[in-house]
């Protein structure tokens, strides 16, 4: 396990390095003069040169990459061109609502998707299973922003249970303001988790070691919890890790719908203003979250299933 952990961490570091290089290249890939594009046509040429020098864009590309790398390692993300503050402060102020929103949505999805997925697998073939599967397909087909609007209409405006826009910091405030958007995010994820878990759970429940466990006189709950679920959960972990990556970008729409000042809406604003350093920083952050999610998923799977560790060791 330690050997596996070490190799996997090394891979994660390599991925991070690759990410930094790709994100760095975003700015190089901008057609034309990036500074001109950022500042617009009407800015005087001397100011363009000042900004270019301030951003270090007059240096050779490899020097720029090296500066970029060393700055990132020390936690310096640079200066926003249009927001007039450092990117760290900017991102930090927008991080909390997004982090809460994604965690909240994921928790809802994993809890409800997990319980319903196991239920559907155990009751496979019954009316309940059939209904759940139809419902899951329907939820998958609904775009999150539309679900968000419907939720806001029903629970926010018609029933007045939750505010329909804005964000209040703190746990209570976050709960009040983020519940509807979290549900909007979670609904389609519930469907993903439900379907993945149901199918792997069904396959495991059909296997001989489950029959053997039943033949030993174990209660059905023990069979499910100690033998079936643990073996069925690995594909779901992979899917959830991928979904986390999608969520980083996917929350942008929901944050717009519910006017939440999070990273998603910051990204939208930064793109509109062509504030490339901010776009870079958010891309870097999102990529890091994806890499870390993948790392956590792999380690979890290796901890749950010895065959995963073995496959890595031998191959």
């Amino acid at each position: 396990m330690l050997n596996y952990l070490f190799r996997r961490l090394l891979l994660g570091l390599a991925q991070l390095l690759g990410l930094v290089i790709v994100v760095f290249l975003i700015l190089q890939a901008v057609p034309g003069d990036p500074v001109r594009i950022m500042l617009g046509e009407r800015v005087p040429a001397e100011y363009v040169e000042t900004v270019r020098e301030r951003l270090g864009l007059n240096e050779p590309m490899l020097t720029q990459l090296w500066t970029y790398l060393t700055r990132i390692v020390t936690g310096d993300l640079g200066e926003s061109v249009t927001f007039g503050q450092s990117i760290q402060t900017l991102v930090a102020s927008r991080m909390e609502p997004s982090a809460y929103l994604i965690t909240y949505g994921l928790l809802l999805a994993v809890i409800f998707g997990g319980v319903l997925g196991v239920f559907a697998a155990v009751r496979s073939g019954t009316v309940a299973d059939f209904t759940l599967r139809i419902l899951a397909t329907a939820l998958l087909a609904m775009p999150a922003f539309w679900v968000g609007l419907v939720l806001a209409l029903i629970f926010g405006i018609a029933w007045g249970l939750f505010p329909v826009s804005g964000y209040q910091p703190g746990l209570v405030g976050a709960f009040r303001t983020l519940t509807l958007p979290a549900i909007a995010i979670a609904l389609s994820l519930v469907a993903v988790v439900l379907r993945t878990l149901r199918s792997s759970m069904k396959r495991v429940l059909d296997s001989e070691y489950i029959e053997a466990a039943r033949a030993r006189g174990y209660s059905e709950n023990r069979v499910l919890a100690r033998h079936a679920l643990r073996n069925a959960v690995t594909p779901t972990i992979s899917i959830v890790a991928v979904v986390v990556g999608f969520l980083i970008g996917g929350t942008a729409v929901i944050e717009q719908v519910f006017s939440i000042p999070g990273l998603g809406s910051l990204l939208v604003q930064a793109v509109e203003r062509r504030d490339y350093p901010v776009v870079q920083a958010i891309a870097l952050l999102a990529g890091t979250v994806v890499i870390v999610a993948g790392l956590v998923a792999d380690l979890l799977q290796a901890a749950l299933d010895p065959r995963v560790r073995n496959a890595i060791r031998n191959g």
């Binding site: 073939g125 296997s207 001989e208 070691y209 029959e211 053997a212 466990a213 039943r214 033949a215 030993r216 006189g217 174990y218 209660s219 023990r222 100690r226 033998h227 643990r230 073996n231 749950l304 299933d305 010895p306 065959r307 073995n310």
Partner: protein, 330 residues
Amino acid sequence: MSEHVRDDELLQISDLRIGFGAKPGEASPIVHGLSLSIGRGRILGLVGESGSGKSLTCRAVMRLLPDGGHVLSGSVIFDGRDILAMSKSEVLAFRSSEIGMVFQDPFSSLNPTRRIGSQMIEAIRNALNLSKEDAERRAVSLLEEVELPNPAAKLRMYPHELSGGMRQRVMLAIAMAARPSLLIADEPTTALDTTTQAQILELLRRIRDVDGTSILLVSHDFGVIAEMCDDVAVMYGGFIVESGPVEEVYLRPKHPYTKALIASVPTLAVPERGYRRPTIPGPPLGTTPYASGCPFAPRCALARPECEDVSMTLLPVASAHTSACPFGGE
């Protein structure tokens, strides 16, 4: 039917009918009125080809019929109690301590993600009220009994780190954890190579000799049955077509199916030039529902028109030897 209750019988199945369908009322029967009994400390072989109903019969005794399987009628009396009438919790207690089961494929009958020790200790503690330490000690001694070398180290291993024969020994050790009085072995050696097969069979026999455990040994191989069992029941198409003491049936088979089955057992003798081992002609058991008469008639070399009206009742041949063929296989 000459069914008389004897006290020395551990398991008595009478007129068991099993069917498949969404509801018991709509189920199409697969096993048709099967009766058999296993004496205490005896090994009964249940032999027949795939689809003959052997495994279903075992599952019915375990109350583990797969989804859609229903017991339509009959009784399964174990040590004076009807298994089919037990409540759910009684069934769990029965499975955990009075009966053990080993399966065909030792590669898939152990949980691949948990260590041998954890699976054994779980089974032991589920059956007997032991502390974790005592259960672990018992696991070690069980592995010693099934002659697995270095048992303490084996407990820390995962199933994929053991060979097929070792896993089947572990399965046997788990099945014997609570010293059950009946062991069901459903094709326990089919997935193993010949040498390992002989060792596992030897071990089964030792379990019977030492613990006095009754064994229901399912196989499609009459050679294995002849070597291992005291009694044999031959199944075809959901019926027992012949049963009796194993030497009696093996040396003087009366049912054409039994005869064909015995004739197809390979021997070590060098065959003569041009010799072809007899096989049973015709297609194997299909999924067409049973109508009436002898199910083997379509493949039987000796079939005659009357076979369509045979009632499949077991008729006495000699003492304890019965056959469902009223024509004596001639």
